[in-house]
Subunit: 81 residues, 2 copies
């Protein structure tokens, strides 16, 4: 039987994704507010995603990736996921 991700794994995944989003955003010289607006994501929610505090949905993942000029799969791969 395949291993099911535990709560801790998932928290780590979200933290990694948040750090990767932040790094990519800074590489593009964008502020967090500019990224939130470009992605159509609420600014407070964007901050929580970057801090790994929110279980991001595919909808928002696709929006954020698009605003960072990445494919969703590339964004996850950049985060080591």
């Amino acid at each position: 039987m395949a291993r099911v991700s535990g709560k801790q794994d998932v928290e780590q995944d979200l933290a990694r994704l948040g750090l990767s989003i932040r790094a990519q955003r800074k590489a593009l010289g964008m502020t967090q507010e500019a990224l939130a607006d470009a992605a159509g994501v609420d600014r407070a929610h964007m901050g929580k995603i970057e801090r790994g505090e929110r279980n991001v949905t595919l909808l928002n993942l696709a929006r954020i990736a698009g605003a960072l000029q990445l494919r969703p799969s590339e964004m996850l791969a950049a985060a080591g996921l």
Copy 2:
């Protein structure tokens, strides 16, 4: 300004992901129920994800990918995302 995904794009993304999950599951000879159980996802919810009717979260994406022996980024790439 980067293009923000519209509702229709997202519905298409979810549909593609669902079809890809189903194809990968069948390639492994798993039933939908077995996949749901292995991933720790509610069976009814799993059916909706495969039909592209649910905005899947990274938590569930990682669980389903793990049960399909894929990395989350690989699962999205296989769906063309």
